[in-house]
Structure formats: C-alpha cells, structure tokens
C-alpha cells in the first residue's frame, strides 16, 4: 500500500538553526531517503518552499478567486512529504517515526486512495 507522510513543522525553526545544524538536518533527510530507497519503500519526496510563497485558488460561481497565503493557518506548516510503498500501516508508522521530521514536528500518515479499479471501470 502507498502512504503519504505529510511533514508539518514550525518553519521559523529552520531559520533559528546555525549553518552547521542546518547541514546536519539536511544530512539526516538524505540518510532517511537513502534508507527508504534501500528498503524498496521510496516512491518520491519533496521539500516545499515556505508558506509565505503559498497561494490558494478556488472557483466560486464561475469566478476564480486567488488569495495570498496557505489554506490552513496554524503554528505548524506543511513543509514537505514522502510517498512510500509498504505492506501495511504498522510499517508506514514505523517509517514515519524514523523520519527526521518526527523529531522537530508532526507527521500525518495518510493511506493513498488506490484509483486503479475506478480508472479501469472508466476506461
């Protein structure tokens, strides 16, 4: 099954770190990605720019509304994700716990909705 690990953290925290700490932080993510790869669980990942760069879009009565800022305004922001493929939730949770993001933020684990049967039905 595929799971999306959504990494939420306080963005300002990164800015408060010394360059050495930032480097160590990055190295931890590189090592984590490498471990996921080795285990054959890695499907993809990305780090996101800060929420100050976010824009929200919605269409109301045919008119497009564009707003500056993120959708959810909270203390922790969505800062990145990992997409993994593992046998079950326990495996997904143990990978989430190993993620460096779990130590300085919160990780939401979401099972991916497999659309294959529906896609076949549509085709």
């Amino acid at each position: 099954m595929q799971y999306l690990l959504l990494l939420h953290a306080e963005e300002a925290g990164f800015g408060r770190m010394t360059p050495e700490q930032q480097q160590q932080g990055m190295a931890a993510y590189v090592a984590y990605t490498e471990a996921l790869n080795k285990a054959g669980a890695y499907k993809g990942s990305n780090r996101l720019q800060f929420v100050s760069t976010a824009t929200t879009v919605r269409v109301v009565d045919g008119k497009t509304q564009v707003l500056d800022g993120p959708y959810a305004d909270s203390k922790e922001q969505l800062g990145g994700y990992f997409l993994i493929d593992v046998p079950d939730l326990d495996a997904a949770l143990s990978w989430a716990a190993r993620c460096p993001g779990a130590s300085h933020g919160i990780i939401e684990v979401r099972p991916v909705w497999d659309m294959t049967p529906l896609a076949k039905a549509v085709a």
């Binding site: 099954m1 799971y3 046998p87 079950d88 939730l89 326990d90 997904a92 949770l93 099972p111 497999d114 294959t116 049967p117």
Partner: protein
Amino acid sequence: MSTQEGDEQARAIAEAVARRSYGKLVAFLAARTRDVAGAEDALSEAFASALTDWPRNSCPQNPEAWLLTVARRKTIDIFRALRRHPSSSEELHLIEEVLAAPMHGEIPDDRLAMMFACAHPSIDAATRAPLMLQAVLGLDAERIASAFLASPAAMGKRLVRAKGKIRQAGIPIRVPGVEELPARLDTVLNAIYAAFSEGWTDPAGADAARRDLTEEALFLSRLMVALLPEEPEALGLLALILHAEARRRARRSADGEFVPLAEQNQELWDQGQIREAESLLHRASSMRRIGRFQLEAAVQSAHVDRCRTGAANWPHVAELYTALYSLTGSPVVLINRALAIAEVEGAAAGLNAMPDQCTDQRLTEYQPYWAARSELLARTGAFQEARRANEIAIGLERDPAVGRLRVRRRVALLD
C-alpha cells in the same frame, strides 16, 4: 424427524457454533482480507444458509468447517460484487487463492491478531473495547451501546468507522513482533479492562447488558492468558478481574444496598475464583516483570488477606499504591494511597497525601475523590467540611445504591 424438530435442531447447533466459534471464524476471514465488516457479513450469511440447509440435508459432521467454507465463498462473492477492498484484480486473485486454499485439521486461531488490530493505537481509544466486543465476541452494536452508555446510532457509527479504518488505512491483523509487543499488549489489556469496568459499574446486575460485559471481559482476559501464557501482565489482568468477580455477590445486601469491603460476608466470596487469582498472581510474579495490572491485583489480594486474617496490612497496601503511582501517575491511585496512609498514620496524614483538586481539574467531578475526602475530614473532626464534601459526592454518583450509602453517611455526619 419432523420439519419443526429439524429446524429446532439446526438452530440449536448453529447457535452453539456461533457462541463457540464466531470470533475465530471472523478473525480467520478478516486476517486474510483485512475487511472486518465483510467478514461479519459473510459469516452472518453463512449462518442464514445453515438454517435453511441443515434441516433439509441434516447437520454436517463438522458445522464449524461447513460454515467457514460457505463464508469463504460468500467473502469472495462480496469482494467481486463490490470490489470493495482489493485495489487490483491481481490482489483479488491473491485473496481468492488464500481463501480457497484447502485447510487441514484445526481452523487457525487468529483471534489474538484480531484483538491487536481492534486495540491498534491508530483506532480511537474509546472505540477499542467496543470494537473488540463486536469483532471477537459478536456482540451487536445495540448491546454494546447500552453497556457503554452511548446511543446505538452513535455506537454503530463509531464501529463502522473503526472497521473502515482497519481496511482503508491498512491496519494489519497480526500479532506484533517482540519489539512492539509490550506497548501494544498494554493497549489490548487496557481495552479489556475498560470493558470490564463498564460492566462492573452495575454490580447489582440490574442491567443485563452491563452484567454480561464483565463475563465477556473475563472471557477475553482468559483468552489472552491462554494465547500469551508468558506475559505477566496478561496474568495480572485476569487475576484482578477474578478477584473483583469473586466478591460480586457480597457487594450488595439482600435489599440491593452497597456493602463496603470491610463489612462484606466472606462466605459469599467465591473461594475458587480467589484461589485461581492467587495462583495466577504467583505465576506472574515469578516472571519478574512487574506492571500495572499485577500491582492492582496484588492490592486486591492484600485486601482479601486482611479481611480473612484480621492482620492490618495497610503499610503494604500503601507501598503497592506508591509503586502503582510511579507507573501510572494516576490521581485515582493517589486517592487510594491516601486512604491506606490514613489507616497507618492517621486521618490527618491521609488528608495530606490526597491529591489536590486545584491542581487536577478532573478530580472536581470525580465522585470517589469527594467521598474519600469526606471520610478523612470526618475522622479529623472537621464535620462541616466533611458534610460539604459528602454532598458533592452524592451529587456526582450515578449508582443509586452508592448514592444511598452516602446519604446514610450524611445522617451519620449530622449526629
């Protein structure tokens, strides 16, 4: 045999199998499909088929195997019709293969795996015990709802949601590995204990659904010990439940009034259950891994010993509560510890050892806190404060018999 007799026999056998094997059959199917609701549906259809088939073609030699065969076929039908869980035809094929695999001898017992799935940390904590009662014992939502003081509709929704989560989030139905086992075992034992406590709050047995729950919890607890005989906490929980059960008949007078431990008629205690509890506790302590349930059972054991011999063992009880508090940090444990200390060092020392409701908001609505306070205050001679605490205790009690005991205390405090 007449048609009617055949019907009755089929029904009797089906009911007996349901009682004995329901949980095992659901667990077998769900462990292979991860679909608890689907397994329940398939099994209830299989029972329905049995009731029409058995009177006509006579009851099978092995009714359990017959039901499983039909239920496996129904499960595959459900999957084909709804394409509900497997994401691809390959996966469906795989499940079909697993379900169709011929079985030799006994049906594998996956109930332990099922209990771990029901009490998975990702399942809402308040739903774990209800889910276990439904999936492992086959209790219906209505009965579970009345036992947990919830509306049947709300309880039904919670159960459906939890089963949906097992399927959609991929919660595995299996026994966790050695590394995870201690923490995960804790949540299973806590859920069983929650079921027991809900049943226990109706000790008069006036409410059938709740009284039954203590028997169901006892069954689940026995099952844990049978399946995990080397886990001292599983033994501790069973010992604790047995100690409480042993004194059930003595907890109420003939006219339904609540009888405190010290005034209970010991001849009403179930000596067999007490013996069994003691031997379980002995076995558990020889494993040298102490835990919450062993300590709580040890407290019960100490109470029994004191009542029997008359030897005041309050210092020992206070020690047990101190150890329990260091494990759980529970204010409820502090209250009981304070009462034990009062017996050793006097009521003033007991009052000093009580937790403070100003620092723990939960205590302001906790009936036993106010009852204990009232008791200790009265013993120090602070009758006015004692009466006030007793009034609050009366106002918070939901068991009428305990409420009446407190009203009797009110009269005593006025004298």
